[in-house]
Chain length 279, copies 2
């Protein structure tokens, strides 16, 4: 496995590999790798000749300086995990390398950036799009792999690729969960033991919603979900929604569409967690 | 020299020293120490039995995530400099130690936070006040030393101490400059060689304003200063002002007050520099 920190070096390497006719699979990450990331890498390894993983904590997608500073940084452990998972190339640039100058790009994702995470995290998806566009230009992959845990992000990336005519195939991959159902996330390590015991309630609540989907009134299910989560200490709900998967617009009637997904975002103490499930 | 990273440990130590009747001088910093910081420490060393210096890059006083990430972090070199400068105690906490929970404190500094830096950096002075209040509670100094380069910050700290009845004497200390006049700043290392050659123009411009103070029309001097600075490539002026030192309100007539100070804030390439001079 080779590790690059300079754009020109990894670009030269990728160009060389592509000239040999090898296909490139790519997994962009912010490090603090867990089984969710590794599952993306395995999929890339299966479908491509070469797998590239980037590790870059993207400052401009954070809404809060303390959250940015507290984001776990574990490059050494990450590299070991990637090596074991058959990763061929790691790209771990500095902030100076990725952002030598002020960021001026501004994308328009319409409703997508106004709903759910977009409404609560102003500028977040623009920050995601800026870094992913730059990383795609650097790594020049054939396919790129994103987890469905950040479902709205996956939709933003698909919109970005379409808008900018980027020749990368975007592959969405299923959420990987802990044995108790908690969706894997780099933020989970910041939960206290007490919070960690409560966190699987998010999955249980989504599961309850799936169970009752199509049977019970949507409003009633949302209220029940809210009550189920709020009974736990330290829980502050940002949103619980049942939406049309293709637009993220909330539905009021089960017959509106076949592609329905439930989303939860909440604070558990100081840690913000999100999760979702197809109903 | 002793280095502490935990609040309870340094508090226990400071309590012990105070119980022995020793006086505590304190210099709060964000690290990346230069002669400006060291001059504060020397002054503290002269006026107190014990000198404490804190090193903490305070995330909540940054307005921009990239600026926060690029802020130089040089704890090892800083410790060596402090040791040489007779510092007795260093406090270098983690972000988790200083901000275990969400920050809820909100201070009101009136006009002070609406003028100059306050206008351009929303939330900045509240972030400064939050961390300084917490650091004062931790280090319990008799006197605390701040440089006049951040003149408005010094005024905010004085206002904080008055509002909150904090029993710390605030000492403002003169700006320390490079031989060519550039005010020392941790951000100077981020200037390119070309920018570094232009940077002393800020001092020269302030000096010109001082030279002409009382003799020439204020508006004319401000225009001249603007022209003098803007002729250099990469310069983007945030503000140039001539103000009443006690309120920071711009004056229009030299007779309004005897305490007049000129302020400059500008971007030189990607680096924001500020400076000021008593006229």
């Amino acid at each position: 496995m080779e590790i690059y920190s300079r754009i020109r070096d990894i670009q030269a390497k990728v160009r060389e590999l592509k000239a040999e006719g090898l296909s490139i699979g790519y997994v962009p990450t912010m490090g603090a790798l867990h089984e969710g990331h590794i599952s993306l890498l395995r999929r890339s390894d299966e479908e491509n000749n070469i797998s590239v993983c980037s590790i870059f904590v993207n400052p401009i997608q954070f809404n809060n300086q303390i959250d940015l500073e507290k984001y776990p940084r574990t490059l050494k452990e990450d590299s070991e995990k990637l090596d074991k998972a058959n990763c061929d190339i790691v790209f771990a640039p500095s902030v100076d390398e990725m952002y030598p100058d002020k960021v001026s790009e501004s994308y328009d994702f319409g409703l997508l950036e106004k709903l759910m995470e977009g409404a609560l995290r102003p500028g977040h998806f623009n920050g995601v799009a800026v870094v992913v566009k730059r990383l795609f230009d650097i790594c020049m992959p054939d396919k790129a792999y994103f987890g469905e845990k950040d479902f709205q992000q996956l939709m933003v990336i698909r919109a970005l690729v379409k808008q900018e005519n980027i020749p990368v195939k975007i592959i969405g991959c299923p959420i990987i969960r802990e044995p108790d159902g908690l969706a894997m996330s780099s933020r989970n390590v910041r939960l206290t033991p007490g919070e960690r015991r409560i966190a699987p309630e998010i999955f249980k609540t989504l599961d309850m919603m799936k169970e009752k989907a199509g049977k019970k009134n949507i409003k009633e299910i949302l209220t029940e979900a809210e009550n189920q989560l709020e009974q736990h200490p330290g829980v502050k709900i940002d949103y619980i929604q049942i939406v049309d998967e293709s637009t993220l617009v909330p539905i009021t009637n089960w017959d509106e569409t076949d592609n329905i997904r439930a989303f939860v975002a909440l604070f558990l103490g100081e840690v913000r967690l999100i999760d979702n499930m197809k109903l």
